[in-house]
Amino acid sequence: MTNWVPRWLHRLSSPPTFYRFAGALWPWAMVLALVLGAIGLYGALVLAPPDYQQGDAYRIIFIHVPSAWMSMFIYAVMGVAAFVALVWRIKLAEVVAMESAPIGAAFTAITLATGSLWGKPMWGTWWTWDARLTSELVLLFLYLGVIGLYHAFEDRRQGARAAAFLALIGIVNVPIVHFSVNWWNTLHQGSTINVFGTSTIASDMLWPLLVMTLATKAYYIASVCRRTRTGLLTLERGKDWVRTLAKRGATA
């Protein structure tokens, strides 16, 4: 068997290589996010019909659900990166884990805020302590905890290791968020989209939702690439490749 995949991954994990790779990748991801976002929003706000029960209020779903998925997806990425960082001590994994946290926190905050704005007209309340909402709030606190712990240390790498440990423990919360609507009797509705079964949503509502999901995924890729590049610059500030880059004017 060829072993070019592990070799490629090994090379990619070297900071200067990843810096260049991320620099080439992020503009494409950002363009993809903007194009998909524009298509998705047009479908969400214009083409999709009003819901027969919720009228136009349900249109919050097109940003709420993709953001909620991203809040869990980014946590999973952060958890895996944290695991790699702790076990193999790969610098890139540390940076990716730590730079993912603010983006995940942003999506979690969006999820909670848009959910609140959806809950008020539909449930009659901005907030309720049901399992789904509470576990999502815990997710936000986990993200903030990871960010805070990371910055609490003078030494960046030491901070990253401590925060990676917290990120890894906190990963138990992700399935709790996901299954909370099945495990407990929640005010929050159950899943509309089922990967392994029939989704209970009309197709002209489904496609904008999926396009928005892809847009948020592409956005995360762009954002994490840009953040990781800066993180690597700071961490490797004494290294030759950073010095060369800074001297050149670093327009690339």
């Binding site: 704005l117 008020k120 004017g249």
Partner: protein, 72 residues
């Protein structure tokens, strides 16, 4: 005319007060998230250059360091 045609769209079936703020939050948070790396990157490069300048000054060597303004 256009404003009149847009009215039902903007009204969101009476839920405008919930739908539009939700979309506004989505955009404001993501725009903020994408501004942060730009600012941080500039600051990081400025600090690295300053560090290099100090280092070179101590050594008495001189490398040409572009001013931060030239990179914008």
């Amino acid at each position: 005319m256009i404003a009149l045609a847009l009215q039902p769209f903007l009204a969101m079936g009476g839920y405008a007060a919930y739908v539009w703020p939700a979309y506004a939050i989505f955009f404001i948070v993501l725009v903020a998230d994408s501004v942060v790396p730009t600012v941080r990157r500039r600051r990081a490069l400025r600090e690295i250059r300053a560090q290099m300048a100090r280092h070179d000054a101590r050594r008495g060597t001189s490398t040409t360091i572009p001013s931060p303004a030239s990179t914008r």
